[in-house]
Amino acid sequence: MTRGIVNIHTAIPAPAAPAVITAADRIEPRYTALDVIVTGLSSDAHTWNLVYLQLLLEELGCRVTNLGACTPDEVIIDACTGQHPDLLVISSLNGHGRQDGIRLIRALRQAPALASTPVVIGGKLDVTGGANGEAAARLLAAGYDAVFDAGSAAAGEAAGGLLSFRSYLSALASRADAVAQVGAG
């Protein structure tokens, strides 16, 4: 018998249906060897989302720096300036993601070295639960490359943006791969 945190099941008979993430959803690790910084925002104390994202990204082959929760803007900007990540992933759940996220991306884009760094944000981004999609539009307009709003995604994409996030990663990794091949050629 295997033991461990990964091996907990209820006694409900296991259906024959496939597990959660199908093979088609899986992203080949070799395509996603990205340097990624994961962080929360300054006013957001949620941690489990950040622990999860780190594990997920590492499983996909990424090298992850996890800045943790309640991270001030300057800590995020310093980390990005020093590390030049392939991607900055911001996760916010406390409803302040819209205002905190806009403030951060404006400061971040002002740093010349970070003007084109891919930056994405996801979570519960405002106190309305993203019902009107306004938060996502504003965040994109402010300079994010992608927004994964759990609230507005709820109707169309029950995963709260996770599938879209994986697709985005795949595309980003392919792009990086292509650039690398061009560079090598």
């Binding site: 091996n7 409900i12 957001d44 104390a45 999860y52 997920l56 759990a150 029950a158």
Partner: protein, 458 residues
């Protein structure tokens, strides 16, 4: 009901009186930026068919001391704040909001989550509010990046400020949040140790009315054992203050169905009522989706109170799996580092990894421990790092933790309470392949992947 308080209500006395009547105090989480809505919420709490105390939860900018952000939000769109901005509201506004709300039988607790509580405590005392909660560890490691030593110093000053507000008939109250670290997946012994150590810290800095928290975890019998151990630890280490135990309804990923949410709330009410706890912080049926409305909070309060009223005391014999012994070892180790300055001893203990919270990303947390669920669904240690409990537990090394495995553990309670309506007890088996077959059921509900970690608060 007497609407004019002849003196400020004393939180600990009210709770003790309710317990003497054989009832459980129930309390919501509740904070609104709008003073009118905040007042409405407090009055609705007071008028609920239950023995209640009120809550003012502050917004997260105030928690961080970012008062520029609070003022900007108040100027632009106050409703965008996720709590009541006590410090930046005009005292007259708060005074009007509270006018006639406080009675000798209805005290209000300020809840905030700040590692820099000084201004909050000063403001609440100025507003006639004398009950709050937190702690140097429990409001630093999960909710701040402040160095633990700074939080300890801030909390020492806050305790002294609160203690200085003591007056005839007015006993300030402080609750330790230490029993709620990370919300889920922390073995109970460490929760109890931090809860008790924070209470000792409060006492050392002048507070004389203290409540000790414990958050409902995932296994009912383990929780019963933990609360019994907490009572014993209080008797042993903090016997000379007015104290009570407060239970938090499950703080992890919450059931999504109304039935599942109610069953989980009921279980926490039975835990509180049956284990000699005095107070319960409830959750609502909509917890998985959004912040609850006032009406949803009142419904949860009344339901929890009704369940508690019909609950029976726990059976006399509670299985001892070693929670008390582990907690004592953790506490004694800290006291050996300096019982005359518990704050400093806490800092040293964390620096050495002798207190070490699983999954906590704070720079001052060593991060060498890890928890897991055993096959009975109890929380246990997978790695103890440098915790001084090596002779008490035999950690069973877990397989490397995967993102799916973490989600499975985080969602364990949610799945159980949503999918198994008739099953009061947990039956588990470890599958041979490590896959979480239960996720498949999500297809039926249109959730084709694990609930988003982007989108799921915990």
């Amino acid at each position: 009901m007497n609407r004019i308080a002849p003196r400020p209500p004393s939180f600990g006395e009210v709770v003790a009186d309710v317990q003497k009547r054989g009832e459980l105090v129930v309390q919501p989480r509740m904070g609104f930026a709008d003073p009118a809505l905040m007042r409405h919420g407090l009055l609705a709490t007071r008028d609920a068919r239950a023995s209640t105390v009120g809550t003012i939860t502050l917004d997260s900018y105030t928690r961080l001391g970012d008062h520029d952000a609070v003022r900007q939000a108040l100027a632009a769109d106050a409703a965008s704040l996720n709590g009541y901005p006590l410090v930046d509201r005009d005292p007259a506004t708060t005074g009007a909001m509270l006018d006639g709300v406080l009675t000798p039988w209805f005290p209000v607790q300020v809840r905030h989550g700040s590692a820099e509580p000084g201004r909050i405590v000063r403001t609440m005392v100025d507003c006639g509010l004398y009950a709050t909660e937190g702690g140097p560890v429990s409001y630093c490691l999960p909710y701040s990046r402040r160095p633990l030593a700074v939080s300890v110093d801030n909390w020492r000053q806050a305790c002294e400020m609160l203690a200085a507000a003591r007056a005839p008939g007015r006993e300030p109250h402080l609750e330790t949040f230490g029993g709620c670290m990370m919300g889920q997946l922390c073995p109970p012994a460490l929760l109890l140790a931090i809860s008790v150590l924070e209470g000792m810290f409060f006492r050392q800095h002048g507070v004389r009315c203290i409540s000790f928290s414990y958050a409902q975890q995932i296994h009912a019998a383990q929780d019963e054992e933990a609360v019994a151990a907490l009572h014993e630890l209080i008797r042993r280490y903090v016997p000379d203050v007015r104290s009570h135990v407060v239970i938090y309804t499950y703080m992890g990923v919450y059931p999504r169905t109304p039935g599942g949410a109610r069953r989980l709330l009921a279980q926490s009410a039975r835990l509180a009522a049956g284990s000699g706890a005095s107070r319960l912080i409830v959750k609502t049926a909509v917890e998985a989706y959004r912040l609850p409305t006032v009406a949803e909070n009142v419904a949860a309060l009344e339901y929890a109170a009704a369940v508690a009223a019909s609950a029976v005391p726990h059976r006399a014999a509670i299985e001892d799996t070693g929670i008390l012994a582990q907690a004592v070892a953790l506490v004694e180790n800290v006291l050996a580092l300096g019982r005359d300055d518990i704050g400093r001893a806490l800092v040293v203990a964390f620096a050495r990894g002798q207190l070490d919270v699983p999954f906590c990303l704070h720079p001052d947390n060593a991060g060498r421990t890890r928890a897991r669920l055993d096959r009975d669904g109890r929380l246990e240690w997978a790695r103890i790092g440098s915790l001084p409990i090596g002779d008490l537990v035999e950690p069973r090394p877990a397989q490397p933790l995967t993102s799916e495995g973490l989600l499975s553990a985080l969602r364990f309670v949610e799945r159980r309470f949503d999918h198994r309506p008739g099953a009061p007890d947990l039956v588990l088996e470890a599958g041979p392949d490590g896959r979480d077959h239960d996720h498949d059921r999500d297809h039926d509900r249109g959730h084709s992947t694990p609930q988003s970690i982007f989108g799921r608060s915990s």
